[in-house]
């Protein structure tokens, strides 16, 4: 399978993230992976149910899985970059084995480590993230063909009976915003947003 032969439009991370956020009406949780992924989540407008990672590269899906297991009645979205996902491919099989139907994984794939100087990932031009996900046991995995298709896949994932993974080919643009790097406040406000705690 040649990834450059995919019939998918190259989209923009901030635009796609904004489209996702606009579709959320039920206080869905959103976990933003390290770097540009959570910068664009921040830039799309802070929500109490957003969690921003400031390190631990590759753990957006595992963190989201934990939230999904803790709150099975809430939809949990995880936004992860392709480079980050490559660090933790085993997590896909863990999620496939547990089958949390409330978990939706979105992979922003530009084939580069944009934030460090746009070096190509080892997967660029040779591997297909959605094929890896399918091969890991996540049958409900698909590339978004364009923005409208992305929105349709998100709507499908809202009521899916199994975990969903959506691959999005994105351009090489940096994130639009910059998350405030206050980990305790990020965690505390996320817990308020999930109804786990009340503010003091």
């Amino acid at each position: 399978m040649k990834t450059d032969a995919r019939n998918t439009k190259v989209m923009n991370r901030f635009d796609v993230t904004s489209r996702l956020i606009a579709k959320l009406e039920h206080e869905e949780a959103v976990i933003g992976g390290i770097g540009n992924t959570n910068f664009d989540l921040w830039a799309a407008g802070h929500r109490p149910q957003n969690f921003y990672m400031l390190g631990s590269m590759g753990l957006a899906f595992p963190i989201a899985l934990g939230v999904a297991l803790a709150q099975p009645d809430r939809r949990v979205f995880a936004l992860e970059g392709d480079g980050s996902l490559l660090m933790q491919l085993g997590a896909l099989s863990t999620i496939a084995a547990l089958k949390p139907k409330n978990l939706v994984m979105i992979v922003m794939d530009n084939g580069i480590y944009q934030i460090t100087g746009a070096q190509p990932t080892p997967a660029a031009n040779v591997a297909d993230i959605v094929a890896i996900a399918t091969g890991s046991g996540l049958a409900n995995s698909a590339w978004a063909a364009d923005e409208e298709d992305f929105e349709r896949l998100v709507e499908e994932a809202m009521s899916a009976g199994e975990p969903s993974l959506i691959g999005v080919r994105i351009d090489d643009k940096p994130g639009v915003g910059a998350t405030r790097r206050d980990p305790v406040q990020i965690r505390e406000r996320f817990m308020h947003g999930l109804g786990v705690r009340e503010p003091l």
């Binding site: 390190g55 989201a64 863990t94």
Partner: protein, 188 residues
Amino acid sequence: MPIAEQQTSSEAAQTSSDKSWHGIVLQTLKRNEISLVPYVPDRVLTPLIKNLHADPFFTTFATAREEEAVGIVSGAWMGGRRGAVLMQTSGFATLANVLASLAVPYQIPLIMFVSERGTLGEFNYGQSLVCRTMRPVLDSLALEHHTITRLDELEFIADRSIKQAITTQAPVALILNPLLTGGKVFDK
């Protein structure tokens, strides 16, 4: 009788049939409402893992890497569910980044049980070397850790440490020494 046992004597009476180290760990997890237990397996942990799977109170499963398990229980904590991670010494050695960039700065009460290999009869040189990295990493982040060597101290240390981790929102590593578990020895 240890103080922790006195305070929970009614529950302890119901579960006193299993006073093995793994039985005590399982009951201490349950008493503290820790129901999510991802792990990367270890020979010594096998009876604990088997009994966790057999008990419907627990959601327990293998992960591909220890840091994945740390991510899962961190997410679960933020979602209101308590978890703990089981691993071997060599698995702990993979965790410096996630401890320093997730558990500690976000103040997440990460509870780790580490089956200690590399000492008291280790037969694999690499295991003995990786074991020596564990406490310096824990100390470099000023993380609470206890090495448990005695069955009669296990419940007190585990129960108190779990409660302290949760109330102070700080990680803890409970190191299960071969003096407690028997460890793993060379058997050809």
